[in-house]
């Protein structure tokens, strides 16, 4: 019997030792920054370019002498878009790795699960996820870099106003992205004097949206149609739209701002308008655009290093890291609270997402100029304004 308990005891001791191995030694001559990203799993299209971007630029910063004379050390975990494991990794970054700041959180769910950990610990956290709830209401230690879907709605409505459009129809995907943006558009439509006369939805896996579009076509007085959605749905909507011969303008969202949308929708995509980040049209920006140098620089470096086409998601990670590094330089110390204060004071930072001016009330700091209104002409993007 004693023998048995000895064995159990030894097994327990071994497993504790294995656990302790996970904790890396704390070196004082490096600055540790942490990240938990969805590099695998359903949101890997976000986490993968983000992770590559962070590693690529930390390497570059270190090669150029690091920050405040110290080398950066990046600790990255893969939460596979699972909020529960994101939370565990957040605790690990704070308690075990003792990072001084975090750039990460690919999805809104993962970000929101991590927020209380960093708020309690007083560690600045720059999120890479979309939803507006991350920074509204403002949380002391939480910032984010990607523009919100509310801003995409506002950009679209602004363009409509310019073209004297006031009565519109909406057809939205019921996936997370489409649902959230639909709600935001409904919310801000009034501010632009826009009236939503038809409100249709489709499932993420639907293969034909003709019935919904027929209904919109039959609604009297509609001057334009907005389609918040992600993936293949908007491409099908665009094709059906042309098949039904609807002749009012079609607005898509930034969710389809990738070359594959034009490929999927084909000729039907002609004339479609959508708001998108400058990164997508890096080469087409006028030379006097302040973002030109940043976005072409990032695009070239990313595509050369990884051999993959650039995505706006990686750009969010670039912005987050650079905002943090500049704040650390200004703070001149490794005190998380001092770095937090400096992040909040970020002014005129030009990133891939736009010009960032943060304040105590605004932990995003982007305005509508972050979006460019694009129109698809001859199978390519053109900048409208």
């Amino acid at each position: 019997m004693a023998n048995f308990w000895n064995k159990i005891g030894r097994a327990a001791a071994t497993s504790v030792a294995v656990l302790a191995l996970g904790a890396a030694a704390h070196a004082a001559d490096t600055i540790k920054i942490g990240s938990s990203l969805s590099m695998t799993g359903p949101a890997s299209f976000l986490g993968d370019p983000e992770g590559k971007t962070l590693e690529m630029y930390v390497e570059e910063i270190n090669a150029n002498g690091g920050v405040n004379g110290k080398q950066l050390e990046l600790v990255v975990y893969d939460d596979a878009a699972d909020a529960n494991s994101a939370r565990t990794f957040a605790t690990r970054l704070v308690e075990d790795d003792e990072v001084i700041a975090v750039v990460g959180g690919s999805t809104t769910g993962a970000t929101m699960a991590m927020v209380p950990v960093f708020e309690d610990a007083g560690i600045p956290f720059i999120s890479l996820a979309g939803a507006v709830v991350i920074i509204d209401p403002v949380k002391e230690y939480v910032f984010k870099t990607p523009h919100t879907d509310r801003m995409a709605c506002e950009k679209i409505f602004e363009d409509m106003k310019k073209n004297d459009i006031s009565k519109i129809g909406m057809i939205s995907g019921t996936g997370g992205f489409g649902k959230s943006m639909r709600g935001q558009c409904m919310d801000v439509a009034g501010n632009y004097g826009i009236e939503i006369l038809a409100d249709e939805t489709y499932g993420p896996k639907d293969a034909d949206m003709t019935p919904q579009l027929t209904k919109i076509k039959g609604t009297h007085g509609i001057q334009a149609v907005v389609n918040p959605g992600f993936g293949q749905g908007p491409a099908i909507v665009t094709r059906n739209y042309r098949q039904l011969g609807i002749d009012v303008p079609l607005y898509q969202s930034h969710g389809v701002a990738s070359k594959s949308f034009i490929d999927l929708a084909g000729e039907a995509a002609e004339g479609v308008r959508l708001p998108a980040a400058a990164l997508l049209v890096a080469e087409k920006l006028p030379d006097d655009d302040p973002q030109k140098a940043v976005v072409t620089g990032y695009k070239t470096k990313y595509e050369e290093t990884t051999g993959e086409p650039v995505s706006t998601f990686g750009g969010h990670a670039y912005d987050g890291l650079m905002i943090l590094v500049e704040a650390m330089k200004r703070a001149g110390s490794e005190d998380p609270a001092a770095i937090r204060d400096e992040i909040e004071k970020t002014q005129g930072f030009i990133g891939t997402g736009g010009t960032v001016n943060m304040s105590a009330e605004d932990h995003l700091g982007l305005d509508l100029s972050a979006f460019k209104m694009l129109e698809i002409k001859d199978g390519d993007w053109t900048i409208v304004n």
């Binding site: 294995v18 191995l21 909020a83 529960n84 565990t88 929101m112 959230s180």
Partner: protein, 314 residues
């Protein structure tokens, strides 16, 4: 040895001792959190093990009950101002009722058919949670208000370590007692042969339903605990992958072993944390180690090891 192991107090007492002893060697809050996650998973796995290991019925939808428990402590306090503890009990009662209603037709099915039916149930729950955004916050999840008991606010990983550890020990105690009771004997008879059990007068359908309801309650309470610990919940908790994870924990730790449930949960929660040192090869290593476990310890970690030890001593 065998006599000692068969005493119904040994396993819960050992687990209680383990919870107390581990608390003294934890270097930081991160370890307390990982341990709390182990206790929570273990609780759900003990319940599922009663169903799988003792009654021999497979459920691929247990994360559904887990998710319902989690969302009940998120939704009921937020919408109706209920106290989280009442919400937890209400969630467990709701899951028991649901398991009772759903279980009656489902448990008439056998083998693969039963697995597919429970799978369907789990997916249904997770779809409802993802789609009813007005109530559940949709795919982005929703916040859970903090637990306060008599003015004392439960926060911090070490506090939750004790609460979840306590829940797990109580869960193990109840399970061990159930197994040792006449109901437990009927369940094991059912596992070995349904026909034989029926011949000796066991009401097969009734016992299957009882254990299905009990395991649903375990999953629901575990889900509520996770939601309260995290203060935030997303639909992943109710997802298909989580169901599979729970089943894997049962099989890995050992079917029909309460201690095995805890070991299975511990391995699958702790391993991913240890394996992060392998970076991109993390998932490869996890798969490799699980294959190794299943090939070398065929009837699960605890039963295989105890046979091994018993064999050496004999």
């Amino acid at each position: 040895m065998r006599k000692l192991m068969s005493n119904r107090l040994v396993v819960p007492a050992f687990l209680a001792l383990l919870v107390v002893a581990l608390a003294f060697v934890m270097p930081s809050n991160f370890y307390f959190r990982v341990a709390a996650l182990v206790w929570i998973s273990a609780l759900a796995v003990i319940g599922l093990n009663l169903l799988m290991g003792f009654a021999g019925q497979v459920s691929l939808g247990h994360a559904g009950f887990f998710g319902l428990g989690a969302y009940s402590v998120a939704i009921l306090p937020a919408q109706f101002g209920l106290h989280p503890v009442i919400a937890l009990i209400a969630g467990a009662a709701g899951c028991a009722l649901l398991a009772f209603v759903v279980g009656r037709p489902i448990l008439r099915l056998k083998g693969h058919y039963l697995a597919v039916a429970t799978l369907g149930f789990g997916i249904l729950v997770s779809m409802v949670i993802s789609n009813e955004a007005w109530l559940t916050g949709g795919p982005d999840g929703m916040p859970v208000s903090r637990l306060t008991l008599f003015g004392w606010r439960a926060r911090g990983a070490d506090t939750w370590y004790w609460i979840t550890g306590g829940l797990m020990v109580v869960g193990a105690l109840l399970a061990v007692n159930l197994v040792a009771s006449p109901t437990g004997r009927a369940l094991r008879a059912l596992h070995d042969s349904e026909v034989a059990a029926r011949v000796v007068g066991v009401d097969v359908a009734r016992y299957k339903l009882i254990v299905f309801v009990i395991s649903a309650i375990y999953a629901s309470v575990a889900g509520s605990a996770l939601a309260l610990v995290n203060g935030f919940i997303t639909p992943d908790a109710a997802g298909f992958l989580h169901s599979i994870q729970l089943v894997t924990m049962v099989v890995l730790g050992g079917m029909g072993s309460i201690l095995g449930s805890v070991v299975g949960a511990a391995v699958l929660v702790v391993l991913p944390q240890v394996l992060t040192v392998f970076h991109e090869y993390e998932h490869l290593m996890l798969g490799f180690m699980m294959m190794a476990f299943m090939i070398l310890l065929r009837s699960g970690i605890v039963p295989s090891l105890s046979t091994l030890i018993a064999g050496r001593r004999a």
